[in-house]
Amino acid sequence: MKTDLELVTEVREGNRKSFSELVHRHQRSLLRLGMRFAKEQSLAEDIVQESFIKAFQKIHLFEGRASFKSWLYQIALNTARNKFRDRFGSGAFDSINIEDVPLGVDPNAETGMLRSDVRKQIRAEIDKLPDRQRMALTLRIFEDLSFKEIAEVMGCPYDTAKANYRHALLKLKDRIDIGDYAQGAHDEVNFVAEFSKHVTEVEL
């Protein structure tokens, strides 16, 4: 399977099928990102569509220092920001910051995994986090980006991205009442088992 970078090179040489492959690869994760900022799926799809078109038009500017995925996420975040400005005009929402927009969720959705009050508490606490901490947390936990990719998307050093994530997690730990949901003992056993396995492998 070709790498993103190989496909980008082919797109630059005029191969649109390679761009089609890039769209296939990344449209789901980009749609998920879009749905965090837009409650309506159609609006999220618009963000994805515009982001890919911009990526195609600007592909000569992609230098390959960051991953294509990180670059695409940067474009999508900017697109979402502009989209909100376009949508709400220059009135009360003129100064809207995409990082201030609560993550787009359906308050009535049922996950079946958490009591709604705990889920609401977590969402509320996430929304209270400073922008960059919330962004690092969102990109890491919900979007499964590596710290390197988060740093690229946020335009900051690796250690800063990691520190933002760490501070976010520690704040949430202090603020969220884990209560009956604790699974500490179970996790500790898992860690010991995993660590011991590696110790044995190294010793052998």
Partner: protein, 117 residues
């Protein structure tokens, strides 16, 4: 890119462990190399003591995995399952870019040519 391994008492290492971004085999080998008692003949007994101490020292981080799990489970964004949505989205994107030729200036610029306006 990642900070140099300094031992299992390093908070950053635990964060990497939490995020599954450690090379466990390499780091365990380094930890063993740093801990002489683990290199002695009483490996099993010392390993248990070492693990218990390490876990105990990391009490501030022990609940992070639980918090992470709760945060993850609080995510209510659900991607559509209907594959036709993605096909349609893909087709719309490709339809938008297909009529347009790639910007020649951009291609030439990317190859180091200067474009005069």
């Amino acid at each position: 890119m990642r900070k140099k391994f300094v031992g299992l008492n390093d908070d950053d290492w635990w964060l990497d462990y939490l995020e599954k971004q450690v090379d466990m085999e390499r780091d365990v080998a380094l930890a063993l190399a740093c801990n002489k008692s683990l290199q002695s003949g009483k490996v099993n007994k010392d390993r248990d003591i070492f693990l218990r101490q390490t876990l105990g020292e990391q009490s501030a981080l022990k609940n992070l995995l639980e918090v992470r799990t709760l945060v993850k489970e609080s995510d209510e964004v659900v991607l559509p399952e209907d594959l036709r949505i993605y096909d349609s989205l893909h087709d719309r994107i490709m339809a938008e870019i297909n009529p347009a030729e790639p910007a020649m200036g951009g291609i030439l610029e990317s190859r180091g040519y200067q474009i005069e306006s």
